[in-house]
């Protein structure tokens, strides 16, 4: 009965001649015809929608109301660390002294911004136990690529280009193998042990002179701390390899342990996870990369250096891999992450990790009564369930996820990691109240019960969302990607 049912696209409400914004215009008399030679002038019609400010405001307000973020409710999306994004951070990033800075301004006019970059690099290094950081990478995967290109460059310098294998656990996030391939490596998958972590014994068969390095997260994607990490990193070092830390899971251990101390040579951070910068519906993120001293010469240029006359950009890095991104990285995101770190301080970061781990274990304890828990031990910040225990009707993880939508909860990550059947990966983060956790447990128990009593209901969920279950296969078969 709603006035506008279904999606109304921008172009469908366009009316010729309507204006949404009057830009400032040059008062100079010259015309398009005088200034642009005919062969370059647009002859193709420019079919952009024509809307008033009210139309645009209502349209995007409506789209926002058909979206769901952390501010809307519980978001235990495993591997994504959907913690609360403090509002302060937005205000700071939009201070005119940051927002209106052109990246190519003279350093004398950007000392505050350079100070932020310099400080953030140092703080990230301290938190991770690394020696040097670059803030250039735009996201986690980009940090990975940067790190792998650095390994590649170092190998070239050492005449070791035959080392072309990167070892990656089978539970790893897809960006790990994809980044390795993009950097020109071959990917060798390492199977997980029965306990869910890497056993040094199991790793041995893969060690060879062709190995350039190993990529790991710790805690790993099952949410388990790699207990034997010191042995593992030592083994890789012993054969001349580098160990790369995928920082997506740092939220579990910040303040408690540092990848650098575990023997990792490279680390990327996901500021849009661990450091509370909002995810924006899929970005922008920021994926700073840290390295130990032996790899520092390869970091992208330019680097901020401290000189007697102030902070400066320096391109003086003969072994650099070059640039991985235009300008200097996602500066506005870095401001937010740094402000978050200052807000919490060391004790706060440590408590955040402790709360995230505590909340995950609390849920794990209460949910394993009704759901399969393949790796039954204390977890870190997240854990992976493997479908329902008592499931005569074969309710699938996807059905559970879609059913959660009707309770106003964003579902956990589903079908990842790939090594767990019917995986349901739950990461509550520290941004939870006990009431919320208890309510979630009650709902999950309710679903377990309903899976037995009214399974067909679950298989057709959701019911209360703006659209029902969508046909993804159809979308891929006949792609409609624009109006």
């Amino acid at each position: 009965m709603k006035m506008q049912a279904g999606p109304v696209l921008l172009n469908q409400t366009s009316v010729p001649g309507r204006r949404g914004y009057l830009p400032p215009v040059s008062e100079l008399p010259a015309s398009e015809e005088e200034l642009i030679p005919p062969s370059f002038r647009r002859t193709t019609p420019l079919n952009l929608p024509e809307l008033s400010e009210m139309d645009v405001t209502r349209h995007f307000t409506r789209l926002s109301q058909r979206s769901f973020g952390v501010d809307q409710g519980f978001y235990p999306l495993g591997s994504c660390t959907m913690k609360y994004n403090p509002k302060l951070l937005e205000d700071l990033a939009s201070l005119p002294g940051f927002r209106d800075l052109h990246p190519l301004q003279d350093e004398s006019s950007t000392q505050g911004a350079l100070r932020i970059i310099y400080t953030a690099e140092k703080i990230f290094a301290t938190i991770t136990g690394m020696d040097a950081f670059t803030l250039q990478p735009a996201a986690g995967a980009h940090g990975e690529l940067t790190g792998l290109l650095i390994i590649k460059a170092a190998l070239r310098d050492q005449g070791e280009l035959a080392r072309e294998i990167i070892l990656i656990p089978d539970s790893a996030h897809g960006t790990n193998p994809a980044s390795a391939a993009l950097a020109g490596f071959k990917v060798q998958k390492i199977p997980s042990s029965v306990a869910g972590i890497i056993e040094p014994e199991d790793l041995k068969p893969y060690l060879s002179p062709q190995v350039a390095g190993l990529m790991l997260t710790n805690p790993n994607t099952l949410g388990l701390f790699e207990e034997k990490i010191l042995t593992v990193t030592q083994m890789i070092h012993d054969i001349g390899g580098q160990v790369y830390y995928d920082g997506a899971n740092l939220n579990a251990i910040m303040g408690w342990a540092r990848p650098g101390d575990m023997g990792f040579d490279l680390v990327h951070l996901n500021l849009h996870k661990t450091f509370a910068t909002p995810h924006g519906g899929g970005g922008p993120g920021s994926g700073p990369l840290g390295v130990k001293a032996h790899l520092a010469p390869y970091l992208p240029v330019p680097r901020v250096v401290s000189t007697p006359t102030g902070l400066k950009w320096s391109y003086d890095a003969p072994r650099t891999i070059g640039k991985v991104k235009g300008f200097w990285g996602h500066f506005a995101v870095i401001i937010k992450a740094l402000a978050y770190i200052y807000s919490l301080g060391y004790e706060g970061l440590k408590q955040a990790a402790a709360d995230a781990v505590l909340a995950a274990n609390y849920l794990q304890t209460l949910l394993k009564q009704d759901y399969n828990l393949p790796y039954d031990c204390h977890c870190m910040h997240e854990f992976v369930l493997s479908g329902l225990k008592d499931n005569p009707a074969g309710v699938r993880t996807m059905d559970l996820a879609k059913s959660l939508l009707d309770y106003g909860i964003h579902p956990p990550t589903v079908y990842f990691p790939l090594i767990v059947a019917e995986a349901l990966m739950i990461e509550p983060t520290e941004s939870v109240t006990l009431d919320l956790l208890d309510a979630f447990v009650a709902i999950m128990k309710d679903l377990a019960a309903r899976a037995k009593t009214t399974p067909e209901q679950l298989k057709k969920a959701p019911y209360t969302t703006p659209v029902r279950r969508l046909n993804e296969a159809e979308a891929a078969r006949h792609p409609v990607l624009r109006w």
Partner: protein
């Protein structure tokens, strides 16, 4: 500790630990080797909100932003008026605090916005399809080259001079380990005709030719003939745009026959923010749909037959295809794409044209005024768009500081010899620049040169 970002309280923590079967929550960290734990601590007190605000406001005050100056800086990052409605809408937390829309039933708004973004980019560039965003212009270009490399199985590329140096450097980094050969077609400024110089370089081994439009120095060189020449050689054409605002006035590359059109869309409502986050766009002929990097949103129907949107063709992507994915990109620039969508919706065709035309009018006026000054050397023969090159009296080390003192950022000083000789500056004139400001800028330069 009671902190606004940590909702749990100590009694709750203890209660939770008991449910888990622990005395104390910290036992959960016992698994971390003692030696490691000992090293993790460092000095940093918690700061209340006011203190953090004060500190960052202080840092902000140590900068001189363009909004306090009269700036002629462009070169890949552009000052524009940003509509107030845009800033409000894009900061709504349903957009801001959402993850990637993996659960489409909860994310129809986001998905529709991305679908609209794809439509607008495709429309503007004159291409068949566009993806839902890339990190920025330079990485979008690098990915376009990788696409051409993988799709063509050829190993040679030609980069026509006048490519944004940032993009060129990133391209170099991304391809350094690959068995490719990059030819750089250097053209002197007196040589406006590209075709003649390009022809001899093209061969059956050429995977693609990369051309910026307008080029880094503001020059207009992209023609249908040039693209035909490339097509005839069997190579792909990759067009790079620093600033798609120009497409309000210029014929879109798609209409000229381009295969891939990529670039930087910071101009569409994103603040300068000292270089990021910006917005890479990636548009292609539909032949390359399944080779494209990044996310794509498609239309489909739900179980009731209602229209809806989903992420689609995900088999190209890393989370499915892993090492065989078309790219490793995962988190992209979603909110920036929404920003651009809102910007274009507000501006509409007339607004976009007005912005483009204003920058062109301003640049031509300023060029003509500057080149009247004896100490200034004009280095941008027509046709140029909204950026141009002049020789400024920058040999005098006090030139930039003096200009800054008077409130001007005079433009971007080009590295000597690339391709201009010494003292060359690249200037951009946004729609915000008034005639009066430009006149005062010329006067200030005249005063600077005794």
């Amino acid at each position: 500790m009671g902190h606004p970002y940590l909702p749990l309280t100590d009694p709750e923590r203890r209660r939770m630990a008991r449910v888990i079967g622990l005395q104390d929550p910290s036992e959960l960290f016992a698994i971390i080797p003692e030696t490691i734990r000992a090293q993790a601590s460092f000095e940093l007190p918690a700061h209340n909100e006011w203190a953090v605000k004060k500190l960052f406001t202080q840092w902000a005050a140590e900068n001189t932003p363009c909004s306090q100056m009269i700036s002629f800086l462009g070169a890949g990052a552009y000052e524009h008026a940003i509509p107030a409605a845009l800033s409000y809408l894009v900061s709504r937390s349903e957009f801001l605090t959402a993850y990637t829309p993996y659960q489409p039933e909860f994310s129809q708004g986001l998905l529709q916005a991305f679908f609209e973004y794809q439509s607008l980019i495709a429309e503007l560039t004159g291409m068949d399809v566009a993806n839902a965003s890339m990190y920025d212009g330079p990485t979008a270009l690098a990915e376009a080259v990788l696409l051409a490399y993988n799709a063509s199985n050829k190993r040679e590329f030609i980069v026509i001079s006048g490519l944004n140096p940032e993009a060129q450097q990133v391209l170099q980094t991304y391809t350094a380990h690959l068995p490719v050969k990059m030819h750089y077609l250097a053209l002197r400024e007196q040589e406006p005709e590209v075709n003649a110089s390009l022809a001899p370089l093209l061969s059956g081994q050429t995977a693609a030719v990369i051309i910026q439009y307008p080029d880094f120095f503001g020059r207009l060189r992209l023609t249908k003939e040039l693209l035909n020449l490339i097509k005839e050689s069997g190579a792909l054409s990759i067009i790079y745009l620093n600033d798609p605002v120009c497409l309000g006035l210029l014929e879109p590359p798609g209409a000229l026959g381009a295969d891939l059109v990529v670039g930087e869309a910071q101009s569409f409502g994103l603040p300068l923010s000292f270089g990021g986050p910006y917005l890479g766009f990636f548009a292609a002929k539909k032949d390359f749909l399944r080779n494209m990097p990044g996310r794509l949103v498609g239309k489909t129907t739900d179980s009731d037959g209602e229209e809806g949107f989903v992420l689609t063709l995900q088999t190209r992507e890393q989370h499915i295809r892993r090492e065989k994915a078309t790219s490793n990109i995962c988190t992209n620039q979603a909110l920036c794409a929404i920003t651009a969508t809102i910007y274009l919706s507000l501006l509409g065709p007339t607004g976009l044209k007005e912005v483009a035309l204003s920058t062109v009018k301003n640049s031509h006026y300023l060029y003509s005024q500057l080149t009247r000054i004896p100490a200034v050397q004009g280095l941008s023969p027509e046709p140029f768009f909204h950026e141009f090159v002049v020789g400024l009296p920058t040999a005098d080390a006090s030139f930039f500081p003096k200009m800054k003192e008077q409130g001007f950022f005079p433009g971007y000083q080009l590295p000597t010899g690339r391709p201009f000789s010494t003292n060359a500056c690249l200037l951009y004139t946004s729609e915000l620049r008034t005639k009066d400001e430009m006149d005062r800028f010329c006067e200030a330069i005249e005063r600077c040169v005794p």
